[in-house]
C-alpha cells in the first residue's frame, strides 16, 4: 500500500468525517437539519439554505451513472492504467460525486449513462480509502 503513486486527499476539518468513514468502507454524507438537503462535498454551510446544522448520515452507496469519460491520456503518476473511466455518479440521496467506474470494460459501447452503480472502497494508504463505483 505504501507504493500508491496517485494523489492522496488531505482532509480538512469539514471533510475529515467523510474520509474517516471511507476508511471504514462506509459512505457518509452531510444532511441539513434546516432544509433536508443532502450535501456533497462536505462543508460548514448548506449550499441550498446556508444552514449551519449539518449532521452526518450513512447513505446507501447506491446511485446511477450520470456521465463519464474514458481517459486515454492518463494523469501523470495515476496508478490505474489508461484507458480508465472517470464517472459522475448521482447518488440515490441526490448529490453527485466524481469517482472511477471499475469492474467494467473501459469501452463507451459497454457503458450506459443511467446504469445502476454501487460504491466499492479501495484502500490506498493507511489513512485513505477511495470510494469507487461498480455496476450494481
Amino acid at each position: 500500500m505504501s507504493e500508491y503513486s496517485g494523489p492522496l486527499p488531505v482532509p480538512t476539518p469539514e471533510t475529515r468525517p467523510f474520509w474517516e468513514a471511507a476508511r471504514r468502507h462506509e459512505l457518509w454524507l452531510q444532511h441539513c437539519r434546516a432544509c433536508g438537503a443532502y450535501v456533497f462535498y462536505p462543508r460548514a454551510a448548506c449550499p441550498r439554505c446556508l444552514g449551519a446544522e449539518l449532521e452526518w448520515r450513512r447513505v446507501s452507496g447506491r446511485g446511477r451513472l450520470h456521465t463519464f469519460t474514458v481517459v486515454h491520456r492518463g494523469a501523470r503518476n495515476f496508478p490505474l492504467p489508461a484507458p480508465y473511466v472517470i464517472a459522475i455518479v448521482e447518488l440515490d440521496e441526490g448529490p453527485r460525486m466524481m469517482t472511477n467506474l471499475v469492474g467494467i470494460v473501459p469501452d463507451p459501447a459497454k457503458i450506459t449513462i443511467g446504469m445502476a452503480v454501487e460504491v466499492v472502497f479501495e484502500d490506498v494508504s493507511p489513512e485513505i480509502a477511495l470510494p469507487r463505483f461498480r455496476p450494481a
Binding site: 494523489p7 480538512t12 456521465t67 463519464f68 481517459v71 490505474l80 472517470i86 485513505i128
Partner: protein, 388 residues
C-alpha cells in the same frame, strides 16, 4: 432588469486592441514580457501614453498589481479578477462599471501566458487539502480534456449530438485559420481527420482540443467621450454579462446545459437591446469543440440541444451563414490557456474592418463569449462601432 442595464449601453469603448509581438512556442520570453509587449502594442493602437492609464486589470492572484509594477504604472484602480479564460471579457465589464462610475478613466487590461513553455508563470497550484485535490484529483482527472469530456458525453446522451458534429467545429475553425497568416495551424483538415486523431478522453479526440501556446494580448477601455479623441474608430461596449456557477466540474449544475453562459447572454443582450439574430460576427471560446456548441445554445443562437445541428454543414466556416472564430480560434490560431483576450482582439479588428482576407463584410455588431474553468464561469460582450 432591462431598463436598468440598458443605461450602461455605449458608455465605454475599446480604443486599443493588440497582441504580443509573436506567439507560438517562445521559451525565450516570460509570461510578463508577453503582457508588456501586448500592453505597449495596445496603447500604441489607441494612441495613448502609458502615463494616461489609471486602471490596470490582469487575471490572477496579485496580477493587477504585479503587471502594473512590471510596466511601471501606479494605478488607482486595480482588478485581478481570475475566473479562468473569460476573465478579460469580465474585466471589460468591470472597467465599464468603474469608468461609468467615475472611479477611473483609462483601463488597461492585459494577458500574457507562457502556456507551452511555462517561463515566469505566476503560481496557480491548488493545495493538497483543496476540494479539487480531495474530491477530483484522486480519481485521475487528467487536465481539462477529462472535465470537458464529461459534459460532451452527457450532451450526446441527452440530445444525440455526434462526434461528427463536434468535428465540424474544428474543421470550420481551421478554414478561418487558413485565411489568417498569423494562425499556427493552417494545414487542411477534414471531419475524417478529426475522428481519426487519437482519443484523449472519450468522446474528445486530439483535434477536438485547443492548442497550447505562449501568447499575450491587451485591450484599452475608456469612456465614450474620451474614446472619440483616440487614434482609431471606437468599438463601443453595448452589452456585457458575467456569471459563475461552480469551480470543480463535479459541481456543474447540469452537464448538458451551460447555465453560466445562459446567464451572461441574457444580461448582455438585454443591455445591448439586440437579439442573437442581429449579431454579424461571433467569437465564441473554443477550448474544445463541445464548448461553442453548448455556448450557442446557451446564448440563444439556437435551441437547447440543437447546437450540433447548428454547426453542421460548415455553417460557421468562411462563406457560411454564421461567421464564428474568424481568427482561427483556440483550436487553430492560438490558445495560451486563457484565450478570452483573443476573442476581444479579433472582434475589435473585425468591427474596424482590419481583417484582410478573413474580413466579414459589413460586420457592425460583434459578440465575444468566454469560458472559465470547467464551464464554471462565463462572460459575454456585445460591441459595435455604432451606438444604435
Amino acid at each position: 432588469m432591462s431598463q436598468d442595464v440598458r443605461r450602461m449601453r455605449g458608455r465605454v469603448a475599446i480604443v486599443g486592441a493588440a497582441e504580443a509581438d509573436e506567439h507560438g512556442k517562445l521559451p525565450h520570453k516570460s509570461a510578463f514580457q508577453l503582457h508588456a509587449e501586448a500592453a505597449r502594442n495596445a496603447l500604441a493602437d489607441a494612441g495613448l501614453a502609458k502615463d494616461e492609464v489609471d486602471a490596470v486589470f490582469s487575471a490572477g492572484l496579485w496580477m493587477g498589481s504585479e503587471t502594473a509594477e512590471y510596466l511601471g504604472i501606479r494605478p488607482r484602480y486595480i482588478d485581478g479578477t481570475q475566473i479562468g479564460g473569460c476573465s478579460f471579457i469580465a474585466h471589460v465589464e468591470h472597467a465599464m462599471a468603474a469608468i461609468a462610475a467615475g472611479v477611473c478613466e483609462v483601463a488597461l487590461i492585459t494577458h500574457g501566458e507562457s502556456g507551452a513553455s511555462r517561463i515566469g508563470m505566476p503560481g496557480t497550484r491548488f493545495g493538497a487539502d483543496s476540494w479539487r485535490l480531495q474530491f477530483e484529483q484522486p480519481f485521475g482527472l487528467a487536465g481539462p480534456p477529462t472535465g470537458y469530456a464529461l459534459a460532451a458525453a452527457r450532451h450526446m446522451h441527452e440530445f444525440g449530438t455526434t462526434s461528427e458534429q463536434l468535428a465540424e467545429v474544428a474543421v470550420a475553425t481551421r478554414r478561418w485559420a487558413q485565411l489568417n497568416p498569423r494562425a499556427l495551424m493552417r494545414d487542411p483538415l477534414t471531419v475524417e481527420d478529426v475522428l481519426a486523431s487519437r482519443l484523449i478522453s472519450w468522446p474528445l479526440h486530439l483535434l477536438d482540443c485547443c492548442l497550447v501556446t505562449d501568447a499575450g494580448g491587451a485591450v484599452v477601455v475608456t469612456s465614450a467621450e474620451r474614446a472619440r479623441d483616440c487614434a482609431k474608430r471606437p468599438v463601443y461596449v453595448l452589452g456585457a454579462g458575467e456569471a459563475s456557477t461552480h469551480v470543480m466540474v463535479s459541481q456543474m449544475p447540469d452537464f448538458a446545459r451551460w447555465e453560466a453562459a445562459r446567464m451572461t447572454g441574457e444580461r448582455a443582450f438585454a443591455m445591448a437591446g439586440v437579439t442573437p439574430a442581429d449579431i454579424d460576427v461571433a467569437q465564441v471560446y473554443d477550448a474544445f469543440t463541445i464548448v461553442p456548441i453548448m455556448a450557442l445554445e446557451a446564448l440563444g443562437f439556437c435551441k437547447e440541444g440543437e447546437g450540433g445541428a447548428f454547426v453542421s454543414g460548415q455553417r460557421t466556416a468562411p462563406g457560411g451563414s454564421f461567421p464564428m472564430n474568424t481568427n482561427g480560434g483556440g483550436l487553430s490560431y492560438t490558445h495560451s490557456g486563457m484565450y478570452g483576450m483573443f476573442t476581444l482582439v479579433e472582434a475589435v479588428r473585425q468591427l474596424r474592418g482590419e481583417c484582410g482576407p478573413r474580413q466579414v463584410a459589413g460586420a457592425t455588431l460583434a459578440l465575444c463569449h468566454g469560458l472559465g474553468g470547467m464551464f464554471s464561469a462565463a462572460a459575454t460582450l456585445i460591441a459595435s462601432t455604432e451606438i444604435p
